[in-house]
């Protein structure tokens, strides 16, 4: 006779099978053995009870994708608390399984784990009841305060753990640190997935940023120490590039973090000026080459958000340096234009661009000694006017202006 107990046992076995398939889907074929405890299969039982029975049945028949999609559907705040608890731990286990080999996928899993904790903390009653049951009635308010974790702060336990993971990898720049940093950097998606309130999202953002910054600062500090040491030996100009190149690796490890870009432009400014003063153009060109993608990235950030004014001057100077060492005139002008776009008040940027505009105007004017082409003359006039506006004290201006006057008086014009 088939009893209710037999049905329960069959359901458990089926849940274990579905969990196995689910985990393999999320982790590129990994088995749950050693990574998930037996009771993690309760995730499937909870999903079944929460309205996902049809998707569980489909997964049991071999197609796990509908169940995956259903579990990931935002907002997670609409899910029952016990399912959220399962999801938070399940995704964290997936992240741990992947962090050393596929950090981007692991970061994705960390994001989902944080979202589940955030939604669970916002629900409050489940975690409060669990804490009450685990700790029992406390005797003093102080003991209570020391021990209990407010439900909405439980997600910060994971954020703190990710911060420690990133910090521990700051020296060797290991993939697991990258996974943690990426996860901490994607907190906007976390809040969106969880269906969090703006206040909850803001709190998470601040804490995640603090942890990210600490880990990235630690990674850059190693480069900074080496630069300092080279500077003490008077070898900054010769060894600076090799030392700073590690910052490119830190940049990749951090998921192209803005703080790395700001730090690098700051450091490059010091070394760059040393080479500039020595007129070591080849060395300056070699110095800048590996960091060009960083300048582009920082410039794009500043152009998107003008409030990032603090680093616009450093960034503009990088484009001025690039313009200085470039051989092709059009590319030189493009770099100078970028410098002024990034920081419209940048003195060197305006000076270099004004000078290049004068060169362009002169080239046009010199080609019109006998016959003046009116459209070209208009273009030359515009170039001179712009150069004067950018940098009125420019040394070349008087000469360009007098050439312009001479051409205007030319006998033939077409």
């Amino acid at each position: 006779m088939w009893r209710a107990e037999d049905e329960a046992l069959l359901e458990r076995l089926e849940d274990e099978l579905v969990l196995e398939r689910l985990f393999a889907h999320h982790t590129g074929g990994r088995r749950t053995e050693g990574l998930l405890p037996a009771r993690a299969a309760g995730l499937v039982a909870s999903a079944r009870r929460a309205g996902g029975a049809a998707h569980v049945a489909t997964a049991l028949a071999g197609d796990v994708v509908p169940l995956v999609r259903w579990l990931d559907e935002p907002p997670l705040s609409a899910r029952p608390a016990e399912l959220l608890h399962h999801l938070a731990l399940y995704h964290a286990a997936g992240a741990r399984a992947l962090e050393d080999v596929a950090p981007d996928a692991a970061a994705n899993a960390w994001t989902r784990a944080m979202a589940a904790w955030l939604a669970l903390g916002a629900e409050r009653t489940y975690l409060a009841a669990l804490e009450q049951a685990v700790l029992g009635p406390r005797t003093t308010a102080r003991a209570d305060k020391d021990l209990r974790i407010p439900p909405e702060r439980v997600v910060f336990e994971l954020v703190s753990d990710l911060g420690k993971r990133a910090l521990a990898s700051a020296r060797d720049l290991a993939p697991r640190g990258r996974a943690a940093l990426l996860g901490l950097g994607w907190v906007d998606q976390v809040a969106q997935l969880a269906g969090a309130s703006p206040a909850e999202a803001r709190g998470l953002h601040l804490e995640a940023d603090r942890r990210r910054t600490a880990a990235i600062d630690a990674a850059l500090a190693l480069v900074g120490d080496a630069l300092e040491e080279a500077n003490t030996r008077g070898a900054l100009a010769t060894e600076g590039r090799a030392i700073l190149e590690r910052a490119v690796v830190v940049w990749g490890w951090s998921g192209h973090d803005e703080a790395v870009e700001q730090w690098v432009t700051d450091q490059l400014g010091t070394i760059g000026w040393e080479l500039h003063r020595a007129r070591s153009w080849d060395a300056l060109r070699r110095l800048l080459e590996p960091f060009r993608p960083m300048f582009e990235s920082l410039a794009a950030r500043i152009e998107r958000d003008p409030t990032k004014i603090a680093f616009s001057s450093h960034c503009a100077q990088m484009f001025v340096f690039l313009s200085d060492v470039e051989g092709d005139h059009d590319t030189r002008r493009a770099y100078a234009e970028r410098a002024v776009r990034v920081c419209p008040t940048h003195r060197n940027g305006r000076l270099v661009l004004a000078s290049l505009l004068c060169d362009d105007a002169l080239a046009k004017l010199r080609s019109m000694t006998l016959v003046v082409r009116r459209d070209e003359l208009a273009q030359a006039e515009a170039l001179v006017a712009r150069a004067e506006k950018l940098y009125p004290q420019l040394r070349e201006l008087p000469e360009v202006k007098s050439t312009l006057e001479r051409v205007r008086k030319a006998p033939l014009s077409i």
Partner: protein
């Protein structure tokens, strides 16, 4: 360290007494001294430090699987003890022989089946 609530199948909501009881049983059953030491360490982790107990409870999968009852009732044991069948048991019964189409003759005194 593996989560002790998961490793030893403990319910965090049951409190220190139940944890102690269950771990004592496990320690008594353990034959390996190293395993006994691990159980003792888990007991210490969960009972001596409430903050660690709380953290372990938060990061342990909740038990939401359908509860298991006892196994199905055992099949009744045969009343006769198991032994090889005798020739008598192996021989076809008259009704079976009839069903197989053999012409049924009246039993003779010499019918070998009578002697079995």
């Amino acid at each position: 360290m593996e989560n002790p609530f998961e490793r030893y199948d403990l319910d965090p909501r049951e409190g220190i007494q139940a944890i102690t009881e269950r771990l004592r049983e496990l320690a008594e059953d353990a034959t390996d001294p190293a395993e006994r030491e691990r159980i003792r360490a888990a007991w210490e982790e969960l009972t001596v430090h409430p903050a660690r107990r709380l953290r372990a409870a938060l990061f342990a999968f909740p038990e939401t699987r359908p509860p298991l009852a006892g196994p199905p009732p055992a099949v009744r044991a045969r009343s006769v003890e198991s032994r090889p069948p005798s020739l008598y048991e192996m021989a076809a019964r008259p009704s079976v022989r009839a069903a197989l189409g053999r012409v049924e003759a009246p039993l003779a005194a010499s019918d070998p089946l009578d002697d079995i």
